[in-house]
Amino acid sequence: MKKIYFVVIALLMVFMTNAQETQESKKLATLPSVDIKTLDGKLFNTKDIANDGKPVIISLWATWCKPCVAELMAIADVYDDWVTETGVKLYAVSIDDSKTSARVAPFVNGKSWSFEVLLDQNWDFKRAMNVADIPFLCVLNGKGEIVWQHTSYAPGSEEEIYAVVKKLVEENK
């Protein structure tokens, strides 16, 4: 048992040392490098998620997750306006496994969503992002740094997301 406490305390120390470090330098995290797939089965490295220097929204979702679908539907209704006004791009990373992953494309098209859709079948990206529960959403600035993260969905929270994106675009002007 003693060994275990030792291990836990040591790890917390490691973590805290770093927490101070990041506070000093105020460095923002970027995306991890994880190989996931595109809808047509090609490998895609998550480091390549980008939008020509404009903001990016990443949503982790699944076809079986009701609040995730509700959130993406709410965004889909206003997405055209968001793109026109800010040039933002949304990547919807599905964590559906082989049980339902083949039906992600028909699902997305059946809802006329125009997001970039990626497949994280064995949750490698979800783990690398330390996501405990979906829906999970984050916003990246033009440099690919994660500036905002949020978990769960309540009707109306899409407006908060858009406020973050707009602020990024205005700061960049």
Partner: protein, 580 residues
């Protein structure tokens, strides 16, 4: 003999390495460029016994599941560790044996464009998982990670070769010196569209892949079984001697994916040889699995047809293990549509790796936006049909004579034949429509047939009609009310149920809800129980706090076609999750 792979030794080495690394002169610089992230979860419950619903007294009254993940990333290097404290876990986890504590996950990984190497614990999947899938599902208490090494090579863009070698996790049993089993596997995938210039431009994608996975398990004990168990005068004991039980069991799989514009086809076939085990009653027959899916989609329309056949494909690290997904090496997906409706939860189909044949069809269509029928925002319609059967098989003569399949080839099955037993059927329609900025409605109807006898081990066929409505009223930009109502009509099992839940949310921070499931149609009037629940949650960025009080009925919890039993419970639940 001193254990080589002892848990204590590994963790000490790991922490020592971390310390050295931090205390070295370069540590500051190194850490400065690196990043530590993590997530934490606590899910605790205070149990109150309730004899009416069958909620037993829980030793200690308060139980909790806790874990902490830490990840360190610096350029191509990633290292991670997870500590789980499940010594006094939630009662449903205790029931499936997921109890204990320790460092359950620790690894170091280096990755560049050509190579990725991992040492320690890892998750991995080959193809659709028919031959190999090491994965986790925290909600279910499934963690089939491997402790060992993994190598991934990308010799040329479009070609990926993976090799894995390791021992599979068995709940909190970390004494690897006592383990006599390990897994090794190799997988290769070639994406032609990336190799042949111009192919992708014409809209074609083609991928080929193949894998070979082998399990070694020492065979030291003879297997005893009873012949003619039903005929008293003939009953005798027979033996499969230890040296006749294969120590190496192999599964190979081949897959092919093809896509052209909106059309896409995916297929994988797997074969397993030499695997007498407790789930198949120690038969020597080969196992097979075939997965096939064809989809077509274009803006506003998506159609899909999928097929799965699995025969004797339960593949585990230990031949004596049969509980849930414990020590499963592969993953046979159940391809039916998965629902989030409360009342259908207890009748969710569970994949049957040892014998199932089934198909699923789905149509997703959007009545266009701004059309007369579609309304301003369009109306989404989903139609769905799925049906699963047992296999059509003939028991071999010797097995008939013996009155048991053990020690024989077992049976022969026709590849595309359906057995007489229906396992599951679902016909469903779902309509989702937003009326204006304030109102949104989802309506769904399902007719379900569920074989309780085979899938849960008691009862007959369950037939149920389920109607669900989900109405959202966005009162202002931040305040919203959501009503979820459901009615499950049935004459089988526990009869009819009604469910209603009202949720009030203040975006993005607060959720409050009250709900009740009422088994009003139970044949016994004393069993017409209300299972009510009240909950509040508070969310700040990636931290979620939630407090609830309520009753949970006895039943099953299924995620992705994998299910586990859930005992009845009553009490107060507090959960905290955060990621940083």
């Amino acid at each position: 003999m001193k254990p080589f792979l002892s848990f204590g030794r590994i963790s000490i080495v790991f922490v020592f390495a971390a310390f050295c690394f931090l205390n070295s002169a370069k540590a500051q610089l190194f850490l400065g460029n690196g990043k530590i992230s993590g997530d934490f979860g606590f899910n605790g419950m205070y149990y109150i016994p309730d004899s009416l619903i069958g909620a037993e007294e829980v030793a200690g009254k308060v139980r909790a599941n806790t874990f902490l993940n830490l990840l360190y990333t610096n350029g191509g290097i990633t290292a991670g560790v997870r500590y789980e404290f499940y010594s006094y876990p939630l009662i449903d986890f205790e029931k499936i044996g997921y109890q204990g504590q320790g460092l359950t996950y620790y690894f170091a990984d280096y990755k560049n464009d050509f190579l990725q190497v991992t040492a320690g614990t890892f998750y991995e999947q080959f193809g659709n998982g028919l031959s190999f899938r090491a994965y986790e599902d925290r909600q279910l208490g499934v963690d089939n990670s491997l402790l060992g090494t993994r190598i991934k090579v990308t010799p040329y863009k479009g070609i990926v070769i993976k090799g894995v070698w390791g021992i599979e996790r068995k709940n909190f049993d970390f004494d690897y010196t006592k383990r006599n089993d390990y897994i090794r596997g190799i997988d290769a995938e070639i994406a032609l569209a990336e190799l042949i210039p111009g192919m992708a431009d014409k809209g074609f994608t083609t991928t080929f892949g193949g894998s070979f996975v082998s399990k070694y398990e020492k065979s030291t004990e003879d297997y005893y079984f009873v012949i003619h168990p039903d005929v008293d005068s003939l009953t005798a004991t027979a033996t499969i001697p230890a040296d006749k039980i294969p120590q190496n069991v192999a599964t190979w799989a081949a897959r092919f994916n093809f896509g052209y514009k909106g059309f896409r086809l995916e297929t994988e076939y797997a074969q397993k040889i030499n695997d007498p085990n407790v789930t198949n009653q120690y038969i020597y027959k080969d196992g097979q699995a075939l997965f096939f899916s064809a989809t077509y989609s274009t803006k506003g329309l998506g159609v899909s047809a999928s097929f799965i056949r699995a025969d004797n494909m339960d593949f585990r690290s230990q031949r004596g293990e049969k509980n849930n997904s414990l020590l499963s090496i592969n993953y046979i997906p159940a391809i039916n549509r998965q629902y989030a409706y409360q009342l259908l939860g207890n009748y969710s189909y569970a994949s049957q790796p040892n014998g199932q044949i089934g198909a699923q069809f789905q149509l997703n269509y959007q009545i266009p936006k701004k059309s007369k029928l579609g309304g301003k925002y369009g109306t989404d319609i989903t139609l769905n049909y799925s049906r699963f059967h047992t296999l059509n098989y003939d028991t071999v003569l010797l097995a008939v004579e013996n009155g048991t399949m053990s020690g024989t080839e077992g049976y022969s099955s026709s590849f595309f034949g359906c057995g007489k037993d229906l396992l599951y059927q679902d016909i469903g329609i779902e309509i989702s429509r937003r009326f204006d900025k304030k109102w949104k409605l989802i309506l769904a109807y399902n007719y379900i047939i569920y074989n309780m006898e085979i899938l849960q081990g008691h009862g007959g066929l369950f037939h149920g009609h389920n109607v669900a409505a989900d109405l959202t009223w966005k009162i202002t930009n931040k305040h919203a009310l959501r009503l979820e109502a459901q009615h499950l009509y049935s004459k089988d099992d526990l009869g009819s149920w009604i469910y209603a839940m009202l949720e009030y949310s203040i975006s993005p921070r607060w959720f409050f809800s009250v709900g009740d499931q009422w088994n009003y149609g139970n044949a016994e009037s004393a069993q017409r129980i209300h299972y009510y629940n009240i909950a509040a949650s508070y969310i700040i960025k990636t931290t979620r706090l939630s407090l609830s009080y309520g009753k949970t009925r006895e039943g099953i919890l299924c995620v992705g076609g994998v299910c586990r039993a859930v005992p009845a419970s009553n009490g107060v639940t507090l959960s905290v999750t955060t990621s940083f």
